[in-house]
Symmetry: C2
Amino acid sequence: MKRDSRLSGVLHVLLHMAEVGTPMTSDALAKMMKTNPVVIRRVLAGLREHQLVCSEKGHGGGWKLCRELDTITLHDIYQALDEPTLLAMGNRTESPGCLVEEAVNNALNNAFAEAEALLLARFRTVTLAQLSADFHQRMQARGFSGTHEHSLFPADDAADAE
Amino acid sequence: MKRDSRLSGVLHVLLHMAEVGTPMTSDALAKMMKTNPVVIRRVLAGLREHQLVCSEKGHGGGWKLCRELDTITLHDIYQALDEPTLLAMGNRTESPGCLVEEAVNNALNNAFAEAEALLLARFRTVTLAQLSADFHQRMQARGFSGTHEHSLFPADDAADAE
DNA sequence: ACTTACGTAACAATAAAAGTTGCATAAGTC
DNA sequence: GACTTATGCAACTTTTATTGTTACGTAAGT
C-alpha cells in the first residue's frame, strides 16, 4: 500500500521556510518539492487554519511560519493535516454481525490502538526547533558545505532550472 | 488513506475454516466475505505457500487449515501476506540529497520503527487458537444463539441466497 | 495600469486495488 | 470414460484515491 508522505513533505517545507525567514511563494516551494504550486497551497491552507503558517498576496508575498519553532510539535502538524490515518491496516467491518469477526476485530484493535498511541505520543515530544537543531548539526558535520539537492534560496534554483 | 483489510479478512476466513472442519470452497468463502472467488484464491494461494492452508481440487475439495490453531500466530499470517506495509505514512524520499530532509527522515523513522516493532511484537504473541477461544466465549455469552450475519455452514447460505 | 501571488473550483491523469472473465487442470462421481 | 466440481492462473476491466493541471478570481504591492 502506498504511503502518505504529506507529513514528511510538510516538515521539509516548514523547515526550509524557517531557514529562509522571508516569505516563500508556492511556486518556489513547488519547485523544491517537485510538485505543483496548487498542491502546495492546498496543503498549506490547512496549516494556516491552525495558525501554523501565514500567507500574503502580491509582491513579496508568500508563505511563512507564524509561530516560534519551539512551540510547534509534530502532533500540531499532524492535526493540521486533519489527522490522517496512521496505520495501513484496518478491520474489514467495524460493526460486525459475526462473532468471529468480533473476536478478530477485538484482537487487532488492541494492537492497532497501542501502536497509534505510541506514534502520537512521539509526535507530541518532537518540536520543529529540535528538527531544525538536528539540521544545523548536520550542516556543521559537513563543514557548512551546504551541498543540497536544491538550494535554500529557491530564487537561485529558478534561475538555474529549465 | 484507505486501509488494507486483508489481514482482518484472512483471520475471519481462517477461523471459519477452523469451525467448519471440512474443506470450504472459494465460492463459499467468497459469499461469506462478499467478494469474488478468484480474490479468495489469490489470497489463500499466498497462505498455502507458507503451509498455513491446503487446497484440494474436485468434489469435496476446497480449502482447509493444515496446521493446529495454536501453532499459527498473527505474525505467521502477516508474513504469508507478504509483510504488507504497516504504517500509512512514510518519508517523501528515502535517500535525500537535502540535509533538512535527512533530519526529518531521521526523526520520523525513529517513531515509525518503534510503532512497527510494537505491532510485530503483538502479532507474535497472538495465536489463532486464542482468537478461536475468544470467539467461543462470545458464543457462550450469547447463549450459543449463533445469530450471525452469515451461517457457519455456507451450504445453507448458498441454498437461501439468490 | 501592471505584475505578483494566493484562493478555489473544476477537470484530467495516474496509480493501486479489487473485481471479472475465460480457460486449463485435477479430482472425484456416475 | 463422460461429467461435474473445484482450484490455478493469466489477462482484462472497473473502481477509487490521489495527485496534478488549468483557468479564473481576488488582493497586495510597484
